[in-house]
Amino acid sequence: MTDAPDPITPDLITTEVVSRHVLAAAAEMGIVLMRTAFSPNIKERNDCSTAVFNARGDVVAQAEHIAIHLGSMIGAIENITARFEPAEIGLGDMFVANDPYNGGGSHLPDLNVVAPVFHDGRIVAYVANIAHHADVGGMVPGSEAAVCETIFQEGLRLPPVRLVRDGAVNRDVLDIILLNSRTPDERRGDLNAQIAANHVGVRSMQQLIERYGLDVFERALDAYLDFSARRMEAAVAALPEGVFKAEDFISSANENAEARLSCTLTIAGGRMSFDFTGTDPQLNEARNIPHQALLATVYTVAKALLDPDAPANGGAFRVIDITAPPGCIVQPTSPAPVGARSLSCGVLSDVVLAALSQALPDKGMARCGPHGLLLLSGVDPRNGKYFVNYETVSGGLGALPNRDGLDAVRTITSGSANLPVEALEHDFPVRVERYALRDGSGGEGRHRGGRGVLRDYRILGESMTVSLTGERQRVAARGVAGGGDGALGEFVINPGKPDEKTLGAAVKEAPLPKGSVLRVGTPGGAGWGKPSDRDPTLVDKDIREER
């Protein structure tokens, strides 16, 4: 057995062919999901992800949408198999889950819908998709705000439960989800889209298995994960051994005590170990980063710095160990709130990146300005309907050692698009009076930090409210090698008017009178190198273009 080659071990060519099919299936699921979704957050902003897993629950392929969703994908299957015996799961079942502590999720608005793929009566793979729903109940419209103090305030919690049983939608579960949302019609449409996406994925996997046979299919997936592992191993093996530390701070309810995120990276023996000991205890604010989001952040940064073209699958991350003491911000325990983890992950990725880039001379990125989150709600006077608009406005990225930081893009753990102003004004009663790069917000430097964004909303409806979450409103993105800090973010009502009022970084349902203006100003990225070393032609260009 050890000498003779196994006759059905697929060669590397079959592996490439089968893995391409799997990647194409994940991409195709994503297309169906975005094409048929109803809420602007999914259809315009593409806040959703799709993936294919092997029978053991390893992620084999994730479509490129939202990196942070990778963590929830990793957790999804293990939570299902922990709760259900294989015999309990039937052909035509689909599960829905969102709970970070019991369902593998990373915050409640992300509903993960998982479908097993059967062959000859046994589960041989899974497909899944995550969509960020604009409201899943809880105390704040939009179900994601830093002000929540426990997860019970953040909305409906779902362990893995059957959304589809034996091919038919399970109305018992659907009705619970719909009743708990402030905008049930949208939820119904979005869930339909999620179910349709999984159908496409299941069908595609079944065709692939029919074509190659189950043995070749399963072994090809294993070989693909092994190849991915080897790629990352090769990249890690090239790093110098050593211990590298970095830290930064996120906002907390206590204005005088920002919350510390701390990372110690040890590279030794061909492995990378990230230890988050030293991180502050979990917060009574929804900025905690649940386990799945921590994994996704570390994996994403490692991939971006070491091998951006490596497949985003379970194999690629076998050389990475992650430890964090339970009860800290990056390993919270129930019932710590986690809704706004995406903003904290923006800072956490800076910390991980700062640690890792110490091992990579001439690589890396100065710290970044994460997005601002706003949840507008109220009644639209044009049709009398209650609405919730979940929107994020990007900040700017840190400068690189060789060029300026990117203006106005989401940080690396995320990827959702903006909401076009013309779509926004069709769907919600606001008028955007200014949507611009926030000049001066990028840190000065030989290479400047990316600029954040200014977006001014004129309120057109009666008795509307806004809940807001910001990051880097008190601690700036810090410059590198003499580069300047990025500007702080801000939320302001009626800027430039006598009644101008700056709101904090965590705001619950602030009233917005008709005619008032809400300004979202997002933080900028930090600069790299001394401003005096800046290329004079770039300085001229900055002046010419009023930057």
């Binding site: 109803f38 490129e64 991939k303 985003a312 106005a408």
Partner: protein
């Protein structure tokens, strides 16, 4: 009276020309290198040679259609005109803000693309409309005047006018354009509502600005081209293929050069439609595989698939185009081993120089062409009808070197390269078929371009497709398509309303508006009213969705009246499509219109024309070992295409060689030579 039609396909490397003598039903073709610095020069020299070859006189040319890659190349090489933009106060950064996405998802090194108009050439003016087109703030006309003077002083030559919600009401843009022309008569100006009358500001502004940046470039090219043709005695206006598969006059292209991005590959698709028609096949996938890239398009029921958005150098350009899927892989693609030890092919290409190792011009990397040589699929003897010396031992060495890295012998490595490139091709076929809800097994693969016929059987087998069609002259099929092009204009208007009777008036107003634009265009193109066919389509979605499906609107009169019967038929069609493409329908859910579209086309007769390949009776069959996945190496007959006679049935395996390509017929397949000389290949045994 003699009557000549000419088709010209300007490719990245070569320009192909074909002339049909309509009376003699005879055709001649000519090939010469493309002249990228001044494309008009090469084409004109080609037209001159073609006329000489046919002993024809320029005045007898009654039709000249051409595809051009000028617009695409100008964008890709940054040779566009300095461009300014006048926009709504508060919105000068829309092009830089984009959709707040990183240009590469994981790779932090990738920078954002530079917009066609940079910030120092973007000027805001006071004006604002709401989402229904109502005026919130009137247009500051003096502001527009000042902006125009400023841009002129800055040295830009083209101006894009981009106002918020202008798709809902173009009045402000129309007025602003008039003011710019008034103060600056020789400016090149376009307005977003003229170029793309659809919502989503970034996509509309980007499309309009890209268009503006091409206006002076296209104008200059057409001027030189028209003057050169006049010198040759050709007096007909040279029609230009658009991305939508229709040809238009120079005047129309001068206003909207953005519509020519797929002018080049579109010819091949149109030719595929004509090929299908002549063979009575309505469902085909066109497969145009060249040296560096491959273009694939679905033709269903005799009509090519369409789409409405394209990425150009990092910016979304929303224009009606054929749904061409292009991948960066072809015969020159380089095979390599990735750090994990997986074999990969492309996207890097050896190009024409150094080219594949086979050429002996210094290429060290194993390319797809080299793998084909190692496996005996391509001749180790001379290429291009014996005019080019080649070095098969260099192919073998290059493949063997790669094989050492991945621990495979040279034959297994070459076989792997072929299989992987075929899988890449399969991805393209999949994208235009399965991902659009079409089963490729119901389609035939139409293979052309230099490498298409080499790989078609393998790709078809991967997809479970049984039939492959190979035209008589795969190398010049795209040029032939230009002869068959219809004259076509597409018009659209956003109408965001539910498909219910209360909106009949709004829908009808939109249709009337489009009809007027179509009529004005028809006059500009000098088309008779009775020679044109018009068709209407609606972009529909469930209320609340953001992505639309296109449904045809059937109407007996010229303009649809949107009565209950029309609306009900549209709703039913939408539910059906949604179920077919997305797997479910929501019959109880309201359906809304997003865009109404009008297409006006003047249908032209087929050019016809037969090219004699030679009777070939004296060409001898040879035999060489050729590798097939199902058999390994097997002694295989090799014949010249010219030796095949209509009606002949050929059992695989066989290699058929002709000047512009090589055909691979696998062992289980049967080929039939059609009366037209086209070859239909039935793979057999692969249908599931």
């Amino acid at each position: 009276m003699t009557d000549y039609w000419i088709g010209v396909d300007t490719g990245g490397t070569f320009t192909d020309l074909v002339l049909v003598d309509r009376d003699a039903n005879h055709r001649v073709s000519f090939k010469l290198p493309t002249t990228p610095d001044d494309p008009a020069l090469g084409i004109l020299s080609g037209v001159r040679s073609l006329l000489d070859l046919a002993e024809a006189d320029g005045v007898d040319v009654s039709f000249l259609g051409h595809g051009t890659t000028l617009g695409t190349n100008a964008i890709l090489t940054g040779r566009t005109a300095p461009t300014g933009m006048i926009t709504t106060q508060g919105f000068r950064d829309i092009l830089e803000l984009g959709r707040q996405r990183r240009p590469s998802f994981y790779d932090i090194e990738v920078a954002k693309p530079t917009p066609p108009a940079t910030r120092d050439h973007i000027i805001e003016v006071a004006e604002r409309l709401d989402e229904c087109g109502g005026v919130v703030m009137p247009l500051d006309e003096d502001g527009v005047r000042d902006a125009a003077r400023q841009l002129q002083a800055d040295g830009v030559t083209a101006v894009a006018i981009c106002f918020m919600h202008a798709y809902a009401n173009p009045d402000h843009e129309v007025r602003a354009a008039a003011i710019v022309r008034e103060v600056w008569p020789d400016a090149f100006v376009c307005a977003s509502s003229d170029i793309l009358r659809e919502f989503r500001e970034f996509e509309r502004f980007a499309t309009t600005t890209v268009n503006a940046s091409l206006l002076p470039v296209m104008d200059e090219y057409l001027r030189r081209f028209e003057a050169g043709l006049a010198e040759l005695g050709v007096s007909v206006p040279p029609l230009v293929m658009q991305s939508n598969g229709g040809a238009v006059s120079p005047a129309t292209v001068r206003a909207a050069p953005v519509n020519t991005f797929f002018s080049g590959p579109a010819g091949g698709v149109i030719a595929t439609v004509a090929l299908g028609k002549s063979l009575a096949m309505e469902n085909l996938v066109s497969f145009d595989m060249g040296g560096t890239s491959t273009d694939v398009c679905l033709v269903k029921d005799g009509a090519p698939a369409k789409r409405n958005v394209r990425d150009m150098a990092g910016f979304p350009v929303r224009i009606p185009t054929l749904d061409l899927h292009t991948i960066g892989a072809g015969g020159g693609s380089i095979a390599w081993a990735d750090p994990g030890g997986l074999l990969k092919v492309g996207p890097h290409s050896a190009g024409a120089t150094p080219g594949p190792a086979l050429y002996g011009l210094g290429g060290e990397d194993a390319t797809v062409t080299d793998a084909n040589v190692v496996l005996g699929r391509l001749s180790g003897g001379a290429l291009i009808g014996g005019t080019m010396t080649v070095y098969p031992e260099k192919s073998y060495e290059a493949v063997a070197r790669l094989g050492e890295k991945i621990e495979l012998d040279p034959i297994a490595t070459a076989a792997g390269i072929i299989e992987i490139v075929n899988v890449n091709m399969m991805g393209a076929v999949r994208a235009v078929s399965i991902e659009k809800g079409e089963d490729p097994r119901h389609y035939a693969l139409a293979a052309f371009g230099g490498a298409g016929p080499l790989h078609a059987a393998g790709v078809a087998a991967e997809m479970g497709m049984d039939t492959v069609v190979i035209p008589t002259r795969p190398g010049i099929l795209s040029a032939l398509g230009l002869l068959d092009a219809d004259v076509r204009g597409d018009f659209s208007i956003t109408r965001l309303v539910a498909l219910t009777l209360e909106n009949t008036a709004a829908l009808r107003d939109g249709a009337v508006d489009l009809m007027a634009r179509g009529a004005a265009w028809r006059v500009a193109e000098r088309l008779n009213e009775d020679s044109v066919e018009i068709s209407w389509t609606a972009d529909l979605r469930y209320i609340g969705q953001a992505f639309e499906l296109m449904a045809p609107i059937l109407t007996l009169s010229g303009t649809p009246d949107f009565d209950e019967a029309t609306l009900a038929a549209l709703r039913a069609e939408f539910h059906r499509q949604h179920a077919s493409i997305n797997g479910y329908a929501m019959e109880g859910h309201a359906v809304e219109m997003v865009n109404l579209r009008l297409s006006v086309a003047a249908i032209r007769p087929s050019a016809g024309g037969v090219e004699i390949l030679g009777d070939g009776a004296d060409v001898e069959e040879t035999i060489r070992p050729v590798w097939f996945p199902e058999t390994g190496f097997v002694e295989t007959p090799v014949r010249d295409r010219a030796s095949l006679t209509p009606g002949q049935r050929i059992a695989g395996p066989m290699i058929v060689e002709q000047m512009d390509t090589t055909l691979v017929i696998p062992p289980a397949a049967t080929a039939i030579v059609q009366p037209s000389g086209d070859l239909t290949l039935h793979l057999g045994g692969t249908q599931t």
